[in-house]
């Protein structure tokens, strides 16, 4: 009996491991930055290159940093949701325009709507490296003390927004 049972059990264990493996998303790599202070930056603003924004300017409030680009197809996917979120005024969204051209970025915002309190320009992707960006769009939730509390890799969906981001934001806002 054991002769047949043992291989069967081994097979079932193997299959269950494979099943779990199939359902894991290899793109979701836990960011080591969660719970750490958001990397500092000082970047030009998209709409007014004379002005800059530094990471310290947002201390004291909970805010979202959304990494986007006009060349990024999935950014278009999440964009209506961001516009809606901006209209609700729950939390300010700052855009990090990642490796983009200024005129194309502005044109893109004209066309699809601008949900951002401000967009800043990271044309060569250096600040992106500091934030561990590797797949645009990415969205960070940053708390009042400037600590990264959550990172969404890939487009923000309704589920993620309602089940994870918004509760977290409300919690952080106190």
């Amino acid at each position: 009996m054991i002769r047949f049972l043992l291989p069967l059990v081994a097979f079932i264990v193997l299959v269950s491991f494979l099943l779990v493996g199939l359902n894991l998303n290899p793109r979701k790599i836990p960011s080591p930055l969660i719970g750490k202070p958001a990397p500092t930056f000082q970047l030009q603003q998209l709409h007014d290159s004379e002005k800059t924004l530094t990471s310290k300017d947002n201390l004291g409030k909970v805010w979202l940093l959304n990494v986007w680009a006009s060349w990024c197809a999935s950014c278009r996917e999440e964009h209506p949701l961001l516009v809606q979120l901006a209209k609700s005024g729950v939390v300010p969204i700052y855009g990090l325009n990642y490796k983009d051209k200024r005129d194309l970025a502005l044109q893109w915002l004209d066309q699809f709507g601008d949900p951002y309190t401000l967009s800043i320009v990271d044309s060569d992707g250096r600040v992106g490296i500091d934030y561990g960006v590797y797949g645009v769009p990415e969205t960070y939730v940053i708390d009042k003390n400037g600590v990264i509390q959550y990172k969404q890799i890939g487009p923000v969906t309704v589920d993620v927004l309602e089940e994870t981001i918004l509760p977290l934001v409300r919690d952080l806002q106190g």
């Binding site: 790599i29 960011s31 080591p32 930055l33 992707g125 490296i129 500091d130 561990g132 797949g135």
Partner: protein
Amino acid sequence: MNLKLSFFALLLCTLIEPSLGWTKEAVPVAENPEIEKRMIALSEDLRCLVCQNESLAGSRSDFAKDIRREIREQLMANKSNKEITDFLVARYGDFVLYRPPLRANTMLLWFGPFIFLLIGAGVLIIYLRKRRKQLNEISLSEKQLEKAEEILKKSNNGENT
């Protein structure tokens, strides 16, 4: 013959060429060959997060290009290899490393194969012992031995005639 040879040469070229080509393709114009060499050596052990089965040295994605630029600049600023990998791990996590560090949660990864080896060896030893026992248990009686000899003799005689 010549045709065959040239065919094999061609086949060999197509097999070898891509594997030689990939390191060269990804290298942008090098200003400092020494730095470039170190950069490639370092980035061969690092994973490109966009195209996860490629190294940072081999990938042509924009992401890999940016990281290579970063590594190059840090090397020029006299940073050590360890400082640079630490810099990348701080941003992208252990996942960028093709050689995972030995930690509590990577123990199974490092020692798992040896555990399987031990299990395999154990099973083999048990099996061999069992088999030896079984072989020892099979002993022939006098009568059977006589019969066996008879049969052997018969077949030998048959061969001779």
